[in-house]
């Protein structure tokens, strides 16, 4: 097992290096560079930068160096100093920009996740056990509808309903009187009263998908001989269900649980934009629009790193959960 983990970590490092190359390539992709952005900014303020100054700046930032040298400067700053570069649009270090918003993204993602699990697992299990019952049809219908509505559309519809029928704006996280207030009980309650909507909207498609997956997985297991054996032994239906097939049907869930890690940071970009939530999503989007490529590149790099780490963690979690897989790892 230890050997397997070590080999996986080795592969992970290689993947991360490859990802950092691609990320840097994407950063370089749009026309223009840091100096041309600076020049444009200066010109908009009415200042003039002479070609000599420009050339000096280019040398200072190493913009005419070969690709590999530039890449090394960028990645070594990140790895050794935690310096992700400077955001063009905000004129602030990328790392502070991102960390400012991570807390809320994190909170939003975790609460959404708990909501999705709390709803999807019981419904999915019920749907599989009582296949073709009215409850199953309702769950299935809801599952398909939830998967067919684009999330941003749902957000727009809720916004419209809020304004039209409840005369309140559904966007943002705080009522106007609390936006600049210090944290107190009132502000926390205000946050909670605003947060349920984004959680619901972000959660719906995830819930719908997870219901379908849980149902399908459990249906695969429910009619296997070991279930019949357990039933023949006289195990109560409930105990039998929880002890064997449900446990088996959770394996695919463990194999994707690591992908939640990047989700914690990326938030739900589109929903956050529509509902104007101050998470990392709109920051990324703003960076993309203004071609703030160091910001975008840092996002891609952080999220990819989290995905890779998450994949490893979920493989290990799967081995912990499922003895058959653990055994396969030990053999290889």
């Amino acid at each position: 097992m230890g050997k397997y983990t070590l080999r996986r970590i080795g592969l992970m490092v290689i993947t991360l290096v490859a990802i950092s190359f691609v990320t840097f390539w994407i950063i370089q992709l749009p026309p223009g560079d840091y100096v041309s952005t600076l020049v444009a900014q200066a010109e908009s303020r009415g200042q003039v930068i002479t070609p000599e100054q420009m050339a000096a700046l280019r040398v200072r930032y190493g913009l005419d160096d070969p690709f590999l040298v530039q890449y090394w400067n960028w990645i070594s700053n990140i790895v050794f100093h935690g310096d992700f570069g400077q955001s063009f649009a905000y004129n602030r270090p990328v790392s502070t920009l991102i960390w400012d918003r991570v807390a809320l993204s994190f909170f939003l993602s975790v609460s959404t996740l708990l909501f999705v699990w709390a709803v999807a697992f019981p419904v999915g299990i019920y749907s599989a056990v009582k296949q073709y019952s009215p409850g199953d049809y309702i769950a299935t219908f809801f599952g398909f509808v939830g998967m067919a509505i684009p999330e941003f559309l749902l957000a727009l519809v809720f916004l419209w309903l809020g304004v039209r029928y409840f005369d309140q704006s559904a966007g943002g996280l705080f009522s106007p009187e609390y936006v600049d207030a210090a944290w107190n009980l009132g502000k926390v309650l205000d946050l909670a009263s605003h947060l349920w909507l984004p959680i619901l909207i972000i959660g719906i498609s995830g819930t719908a998908g997870l219901i379908r997956v849980t149902r399908a997985n459990l249906l695969d297991e429910l009619y296997k001989p070991y279930v019949i054996t357990a039933r023949a032994k006289g195990l109560s239906e409930w105990k039998l269900l929880v002890k064997y097939p449900v446990r088996m049907s959770l394996s695919p869930f463990f194999s994707t649980v690591g992908w939640l890690l990047p989700g914690l940071i990326s938030g739900e970009t589109i929903i956050s934009i529509v509902l104007s939530l101050p998470t990392t999503g709109p920051l990324l989007f703003g960076g993309v629009l203004s071609q703030d490529m160091y910001l975008v590149g840092s996002f891609i790099l952080i999220l990819s790193a989290l995905t890779v780490v998450g994949t490893l963690l979920s493989d290990l979690a799967l081995a912990w959960w499922d003895p058959r897989i653990r055994r396969r790892y030990q053999e290889s």
């Binding site: 509808v145 559309l153 419209w160 966007g171 891609i300």
Partner: protein, 420 residues
């Protein structure tokens, strides 16, 4: 042919697991599925209900009462009632897409600023004085003195007769033939006719949604086609040859899957030069969407290849001296193509949703081009939705399309393995 028929007679009667029998049965399967493939999969009003024609019945009897795999899939698919209905819905949607110009009451670009944000007009059938016949009411337009926005009042006294196949806004059918016939429209082309309301430039929402289906629906098909080619080629190599090519391709797939989708799409679409025309942009977006799409397909194909490689009938074909291409295309591909088609159907709605999201954010198709995502961009602002909630209607089109496609995909997946 005669030799094979004789052998089949001896082989089919026994339950022997002899290798020769296995190979023979597979040959049979291969030829039959080829026959089956000539019958298009979604052939409406298939011949299953009325029973096969006499010749087919005799042929089936001679083959030991077996139907081709595609016929079995089709039979099983029809049992999934919802999926069957959804298949018709999807076909109807694609037909609408094909004839969008004729079906639309106007064109996507015809505008009339006098009717900016005009609300939907109800289509009436019976007029008290004019008698039976389709008509709509005109508006009385007043300008709000404070906001300068047009305010619309339905003028119940007015009468705009509506007819079928009227001539109206000129267009070019499929970009080729200049025409001006519209399925439905006002008999006097200068009168307002907005069944689903108008947008900020006074363009007809219904027409724009119909025109927008072109991009939104085709991008899914083109994107999936690219994913399919890449996925089958690379997944096939990976699964069939194994070893070093397999390791390399698997690493590439893992690498691509490790990059988070949305930031990657955002970054890549932001990198598309603004100077590119709509067509170039369209293909760039499709390519961006397929970058991720093919990996799932490749994994699936590889898995199928891996499990099939050890099957008896493949060993038998190898022993028979079949060449590799023959083994792949005559023996392996037919036995998993139904699975591939099922997962393709599941992939199309995902692509449609992705394009919509990108365009909605302003990173996909850009304004002169019309797609459902581009149309929904107008509804981004809560003030606009308040004034003109009908701008959310493209969302309904997306919803119906994606829902129907998901149902079809679900039915196909259930039917993909008809022997279960």
């Amino acid at each position: 042919m005669t030799e094979r028929t004789e052998r089949r007679d001896t082989g089919a009667s026994g339950t022997s697991t002899d290798v020769w029998d296995a190979s023979e049965l597979e040959l049979e399967g291969a030829t039959m599925s080829q026959e089956g493939m000539e019958i298009p999969l979604p052939s409406p009003g298939g011949d299953d209900e009325s029973g096969p024609t006499p010749e087919l019945a005799r042929a089936a009897l001679a083959q030991g009462g077996t139907a081709s795999q595609w016929r079995l899939v089709w039979r099983r698919f029809r049992r999934h009632k919802v999926a069957f209905v959804a298949l018709w819905v999807v076909l109807a949607i694609y037909l609408i897409m094909a004839f969008a110009e004729v079906l639309a009451p106007s064109t996507a670009t015809a505008q009339d600023p006098d009717y900016a944000y005009a609300p939907p007009q109800a289509l009436h059938i019976y007029h008290p004085s004019e008698g039976l016949g389709l008509y709509v009411h005109d508006f009385t337009v007043t300008q709000n003195p404070e906001t300068f926005a047009n305010e619309f009042e339905i003028d119940t006294d007015s009468y705009i007769p509506v007819g079928f196949f009227v001539s109206g806004e000129p267009y070019e059918m499929w970009g080729l033939f200049p025409m001006d016939v519209h399925l439905i429209g006002p008999e006097d082309p200068d009168r307002p006719f907005y069944l689903w309301g108008a947008d900020r430039a006074g363009r007809d929402s219904l027409s724009r949604i119909l025109y927008g289906s072109r991009v939104s629906l085709s991008i899914g098909l083109v994107g999936v086609a690219i994913s399919l080619v890449l996925g089958i080629a690379l997944g096939g190599i990976s699964g069939y040859y194994g070893g070093k090519p397999d390791t390399l391709i698997q690493r590439i797939i893992e690498f691509l899957m490790a990059i988070p989708t949305l930031p990657l799409w955002l970054a890549l679409s932001a990198a598309i030069p603004a100077s590119w025309g709509p067509l170039a942009r369209y293909f760039a977006i499709t390519a961006i969407l397929s970058v991720i799409g093919w990996t799932g397909m490749a994994r699936q194909v590889r898995g199928k290849f891996l499990s099939l490689r050890t099957e008896d009938f493949i060993t038998a074909a190898t022993l028979d001296g079949c060449s590799r291409p023959r083994i792949i295309f005559r023996h392996m591909v037919p036995s998993f193509s139904s699975h591939v088609i099922a997962s393709l159907t599941m992939a199309v709605p995902g692509m449609i949703l992705a394009e919509t999201s990108l365009s909605f954010l302003g990173l996909g198709l850009q304004a002169p081009a019309v797609s459902w995502g581009v149309l929904l961009q107008d509804a981004q602002n809560i003030r606009t939705i308040e004034t003109a909630p009908w701008l959310l209607l493209p969302g309904l089109a997306i919803f119906i399309t994606v829902l129907a496609m998901n149902f079809v995909g679900d039915g196909l997946r259930d039917a993909a393995d008809p022997y279960k």
